[in-house]
Symmetry: C2
Subunit: 528 residues, 2 copies
Amino acid sequence: MVSVRLLLLSAAPLLLCGCLGTQGGNVLVLPGEHSHWLNMRVILEELAERNHSVTVLVFTASPSIDYSKPERFGFKVYDVPFEKQDWLAVNDDFIKWWMYESQNASMLEVGLWIRDLMQKMNVLTLNTCKSMFNNEELLESLRQSKFDALLSDPMSPCSDLMADALGLPLIFSLRFSFGMVLERQCAQMPAPSSYVPSPELAYTDQMTFFERVHNFVMYTFLDVLTNVHFLTTMDPLYSEIKGRPTRFCEIMGKADIWLIRTYWDFEYPRPFLPNFKFVGGLHCKPAKPLSEAMEEFVQSSGDDGVVVFSLGSMVKNLTKERGNTIATALGQIPQKVLWRYSGEKPETLAPNTRVYKWIPQNDLLGHPKTKAFITHGGTNGLYEAIYHGVPMVGIPLFADQPVNIMHMKTKGAAVMMDFNKMTSKDLVDGLNSVINDPSYKENMMRLSSLHHDQPMKPLDTAVFWIEFVMRNKGAKHLRVESHNLSWYQYHCLDVAAALLSVVALIIIVSVKTCTFCFRKTKARQKTE
Amino acid sequence: MVSVRLLLLSAAPLLLCGCLGTQGGNVLVLPGEHSHWLNMRVILEELAERNHSVTVLVFTASPSIDYSKPERFGFKVYDVPFEKQDWLAVNDDFIKWWMYESQNASMLEVGLWIRDLMQKMNVLTLNTCKSMFNNEELLESLRQSKFDALLSDPMSPCSDLMADALGLPLIFSLRFSFGMVLERQCAQMPAPSSYVPSPELAYTDQMTFFERVHNFVMYTFLDVLTNVHFLTTMDPLYSEIKGRPTRFCEIMGKADIWLIRTYWDFEYPRPFLPNFKFVGGLHCKPAKPLSEAMEEFVQSSGDDGVVVFSLGSMVKNLTKERGNTIATALGQIPQKVLWRYSGEKPETLAPNTRVYKWIPQNDLLGHPKTKAFITHGGTNGLYEAIYHGVPMVGIPLFADQPVNIMHMKTKGAAVMMDFNKMTSKDLVDGLNSVINDPSYKENMMRLSSLHHDQPMKPLDTAVFWIEFVMRNKGAKHLRVESHNLSWYQYHCLDVAAALLSVVALIIIVSVKTCTFCFRKTKARQKTE
């Protein structure tokens, strides 16, 4: 069995130019999957462009990373005791359940489903971690590679533990974690629940009293839930691998830099820490020309323009009924529609709509004829829409998509659809609104202007901090001291207890003294 | 009486080039005094350089702004009912008391002195504010000027109220406020007292239990003290000027951008907000050549090099005894010394020491022969030392100086002296340490390297955000929603109270129901 396959397919040109290890750094990357990978590979390409050597550590069953394809960076592949299909099956279950069943499920069913999903994911996580850390050949090869830093997506299991094991500074790339638990508990970011809504709730930073109660309860609930998960699953795993009692958050919290894949064009302002760098939209770039056939179709739309439609790379198929509802709606608008969809062609597909297995989404969104973007609301597509200033019709499906679309809706740059309940008329109305009501375009252009009006481009910011970490062997000067405090010390509960004790002592002594003096005086009066 | 004197002495070249009002913006500036002014004028020069029109609003009694001197920006001067001498007298009282008397004062004396000082300063503040807002001619002229933004130092009285009155976006330039009250209460920056030391205490971010108690008590004390000041002095003044009940913090908190005059090379990492931009050392630049005479003196030091010595622009004189103690010490080191000092020449002044009324401090600190910097620890000089990597002997006198030097000491880049207690031997030992123990130089070079290793130069960052505010008529997308919450809402006390009430209600109802059922059962048993 070849447990370590070194595929430095594409590092060859770099080696030829003699730049590796001389001017450039040496980065190990443990990426996330799906859209996370698409975002991270933009960083990796830029790192390679700047003469850094980049090695992506990937497991054989990776559902979305094609390590056989030549790239500007190299791959190191390790075996895991499961197949790509196992991972995809969990994924598909997750998506189908969320898209079609979660709406009508009872609380009990939701709870059981979450438990079931977490168990399945835990199996994959544990197997992936152990496959890395039990593979002495892999570890030795990584040690020999003398990396300068490790860049990872927290979605990649045990990537922080790998940085710890190799003694490397760590850079995370993150949209947000479940309940922002990693940011709040592991990175120590303050998030007052009074105005920082949990990303699981579709609230803005302006909450009513009952929304604030809901938010407070949600944070507490998620804290309990994730801490149980940490205590029962992650801490034992980390302790086992490290060979001493280890907390998951302790290792996660060692990250030098947290690259957050959003910015204040999209996020509600909130407190953060010096090692948080906001790099939302780093993958966006000016549109390139379309293929001749596509350009011809786009131009044929005349003054009405086109609508770009994609539900992302993870949704391959729709039910017949949903597909037809959507296709019927698309047939009723005067625009031409370019729909990325790899499922069965809906029967009601109208002549104005063309279905593609893949579309050059960024180039289409940047085309002057594009009037609107129908999207599931993934962060990558959302930022491409912000970058090019295209108003959106959001049909959120799962994960961060509902909260993403809700952000854009409250900023007046999108209308939001309910995937399961929307009728053809709803979609037509939504499209007509964002296309014909100029406020949507204006609001989107305002966000676009904020996005472009930053001191530095997001990709440059991301690369700067990765290079900084390599140059300086970390960024400890940006890491808050609260990592070394317990939760009760952090919240000054010990200080409050001490001060209250002193006050109580003073009161007791005063009362006792007064009582004693009063009795003495009374006794003396009596004897007199 | 000429109540508004428009001195656009130096804007002439800009007007000639035809750039004003076309490409560039129009900035109104209400600066601070002394070192604050020195720092801010660097920004103003850069703004002028970038074709912006800059008008500095200054009162006739300004102790440190020479508005008769030609500058690249213009001045608008208004009368106040006090003289420069009145301001300087309060200043001198403050400095002398802090330097010579505060050490031996009892708590009562300190308290009375603070009260006395605040009363004197209040008189100046109130008079300055009212002179601006009662001067209709001035206000009308400012209104007519159609500024795009107001840049101010919070030290400048009512500058935020002026921005409000003129409807201008506001940018603050700030080192820190007393107890960080403005940042915490008015700007809503979270500062957990468990690891963010109050700047009044010489603690690091690593505090013992008792230091944390002290810090907690200090924050509470300063909050009470300043809130009493706000309630009794500032709120009534602001309400009177605005003609409706107005809170000081409400107006202060409207600031779009807070330019903080430090960075993480110097500060301990802590949470902050999206509209906080750290621009420490923006005034620093590469050294220019010295005058011929000074260069000759510096070169005459040979391999021993030179020591640069300044206690800042505010300390004009020392007592004879302190002067002689210092001069004696300087005479005992092999280095040559350049001492900025405008007081009486000490009798013990040795031939290796030259006294200057003014020195080109930045150029001297950037000279390769410079081995050490003896400083009071003002932020400007401290950043010049960081910029050029010169280790320091700190003799802090007042204000932020003790905490500044303490920061540098804990980072291993400075030794700290007690101005009143130090002997000549102490100063000689201190100088020998920072010059001969290589760790001081190494630590300072590490800070210097962090300072230079930023995505953008501090001055460019400051100017970017000022220009951003002008381009976008503010920076509301960076302003947290907590400004619209009361303190109990912010801390979720209403939510906690509601949840506790629900829990209490459930318990009471349960207990009552159980008791009722129990009684019923018992009664039934009895009747049976």
